[in-house]
C-alpha cells in the first residue's frame, strides 16, 4: 500500500532521463512502478474529491429546487410528485352518514 508521503514525486527520483543509476535495472523498474502507482493514486484521489464536490453541488441544487420534498415530514400517503389515489374508492352506502363532507 502506498503512503503518499514516502513516494517521491515524478521528476524528483534522483535519476536523469535515460540513465539508470548504478545500472540497477530492478531498482529502476521498482521506481518506475512506484511512480506509476503514485500517479494512479493521485488521479484516484483527485477523482474522489471531484466526485464529492459534484455530489455536494447537485445535492444543494436539488434541495433548493425541491420545495416540497426533501426533509419534509409529509402528511400520510403524500408523495411529492403526484396526487395519490385512494387504496379503495368510496363504496356505496345507504342511510345517513356519521359525518358530512361538504364545503365550509
Amino acid at each position: 500500500m502506498l503512503e503518499h508521503g514516502r513516494v517521491s514525486a515524478p521528476g524528483h527520483s534522483g535519476a536523469e532521463d535515460g540513465e539508470v543509476p548504478g545500472g540497477d535495472v530492478r531498482l529502476a523498474a521498482s521506481r518506475a512502478r512506484d511512480s506509476g502507482l503514485h500517479r494512479v493514486s493521485r488521479l484516484t484521489w483527485r477523482a474522489g474529491v471531484a466526485s464529492l464536490a459534484c455530489s455536494a453541488v447537485i445535492g444543494v441544487a436539488l434541495a433548493h429546487q425541491s420545495d416540497a420534498s426533501a426533509g419534509t415530514t409529509h402528511p400520510q400517503h403524500s408523495t411529492p410528485g403526484q396526487i395519490v389515489i385512494p387504496a379503495k374508492p368510496p363504496q356505496p352506502s345507504g342511510g345517513s352518514g356519521q359525518v358530512n363532507s361538504g364545503a365550509s
Binding site: H64, H77, I83, I85, P86, P92, G97, V99, A103
Partner: protein, 343 residues
C-alpha cells in the same frame, strides 16, 4: 366511564366545525396506557372509552393550535402574517410546521399546474375576506377593499422555501393564503398522530375535509357527501364509506358573501384573481390523503369541464355536481342511485 364502539366529539376550530370519531377495533397499534383507558366489549373489539376519546381530542387540540399559530391569515402573531407583512424578498426563519404547511401548498400548486395557488392572498383581501369568515358574513354587503381589476395572482413560483434551512420568503408584494391546503393538511396530521399514538381507528373532519387513520370500523366510515358540511343528515347528497386516506369537498355555494352588491366566493381563479365561475357548484374527491383530495377538488372547480378528463386520467374517484344538480362521477366513485341521492 363511557363506553361506545365509536367515540364522537364535536368542536369548533378554524371558524368551522370539527368532528372527531374514534374507533378502537384495531389491535395492531401500541397499547394505550392509563387507568380506565380501555375496556373489552367483545371478541376482537376494544370499545372506545372516555379516556381514549379525551386523549384523541387532546392530540387534535395540540396539533390544530400549532397549525393555527403557524398559518392563520387572521392572527397578527402567526408566521404567515409575519411573512406576508414582510414580503420583501428576504429570507425569514420559519418553524418546521410552517415549512411543512408551505411545502404542502407549493406541492399542490405544482401538481395542479398552478390552479391551486397560494398567492391569492391579495385577491381575497380585495374581496373583503381579510378577517374570520363569520365576521365577513356578518358584515353583509360591503364595498370592495380594492378598486379596479385585481388581475392574475402573482404565482406560486414567487414563493420561496428553503426546507432544509427552514427559511421562507416572498417576492415583493406577494401575499399568500394557505386556506386551500392547510385545513386538509391539519386533518391528515391529526388522523396520523392519533392513530399512531393511541392505536385506534380515527376519522377527523375539519369543516368537511376528512382524513382517516388506523383501522376503520367494519364496513368503513360512513360519510354523507353534500354541498355544506353543516347540512342535516338527510340533506341532498350521497352516503358513501371510506376506509383510508381522505375525502374532501369544495364548493362555491357555502363560503360565499357579497361585495359591492356582487356575489362572490372564496375559490380564486389564479388566471383572473377573481372568484372562479365554474360549471361545478360542488366537487368531492377521495384520495390517498385529505390534502390530496382537497387539492384535487379545488382544482376541479377551477378547471371546470376539463376536470372530468383530468380526474379520470389521474384515477381519482370524484363526484362533481353541476349548478342544476346533475352529477358526474369518475374513477370508481359509486353512482348516485339511493334514496335522497339528488344533489
Amino acid at each position: 366511564m363511557t363506553i361506545a364502539d365509536v367515540g364522537r366529539d364535536t368542536f369548533d376550530v378554524f371558524g368551522t366545525t370539527a368532528v372527531l370519531l374514534v374507533s378502537a377495533t384495531e389491535h395492531a397499534g401500541p397499547a394505550v396506557a392509563g387507568a380506565g383507558a380501555t375496556a373489552r366489549a367483545g371478541a376482537g373489539t376494544r370499545a372506545v372509552t372516555a379516556g381514549i376519546a379525551a386523549r384523541a381530542r387532546a392530540i387534535a387540540d395540540r396539533e390544530l393550535a400549532a397549525v393555527d399559530l403557524a398559518c392563520s391569515r387572521f392572527r397578527p402573531d402567526s408566521e404567515l402574517t409575519a411573512l406576508n407583512d414582510a414580503a420583501d424578498g428576504r429570507p425569514r426563519p420559519v418553524s418546521p410546521i410552517f415549512a411543512d404547511l408551505l411545502a404542502a401548498a407549493l406541492r399542490a400548486a405544482r401538481l395542479t399546474g398552478g390552479d391551486v395557488d397560494p398567492t391569492c392572498g391579495r385577491a381575497l383581501v380585495g374581496l373583503g375576506y381579510d378577517r374570520d369568515f363569520a365576521e365577513v358574513r356578518a358584515a353583509g354587503d360591503a364595498p370592495p377593499r380594492l378598486t379596479g381589476p385585481v388581475g392574475p395572482v402573482p404565482g406560486w413560483q414567487r414563493v420561496h422555501l428553503d426546507l432544509a434551512g427552514r427559511r421562507a420568503w416572498l417576492d415583493r408584494g406577494v401575499q399568500i393564503d394557505l386556506g386551500a391546503t392547510a385545513k386538509a393538511w391539519a386533518a391528515d396530521r391529526c388522523a396520523g398522530k392519533i392513530a399512531a399514538q393511541l392505536g385506534v381507528g380515527v376519522l377527523i373532519s375539519l369543516g368537511g375535509d376528512i382524513a382517516v387513520g388506523g383501522q376503520a370500523p367494519a364496513g368503513g366510515w360512513r360519510v354523507r357527501v353534500t354541498d355544506d358540511h353543516a347540512a342535516p343528515p338527510d340533506a341532498p347528497g350521497q352516503t358513501v364509506t371510506i376506509s383510508s386516506g381522505g375525502l374532501a369537498t369544495s364548493s362555491t355555494t357555502v363560503r360565499a358573501w357579497k361585495v359591492g352588491g356582487r356575489p362572490v366566493h372564496h375559490i380564486i381563479d389564479p388566471a383572473t384573481g377573481e372568484p372562479v365561475r365554474s360549471c361545478w357548484r360542488t366537487v368531492s374527491v377521495a384520495a390517498g390523503s385529505c390534502v390530496d383530495a382537497n387539492t384535487a377538488s379545488t382544482a376541479a372547480i377551477i378547471r371546470g369541464p376539463a376536470a372530468i378528463d383530468w380526474l379520470h386520467d389521474i384515477g381519482l374517484p370524484a363526484r362533481l355536481v353541476r349548478h342544476d344538480g346533475t352529477v358526474e362521477t369518475t374513477a370508481g366513485w359509486p353512482r348516485d342511485d339511493g334514496p335522497g341521492a339528488a344533489a
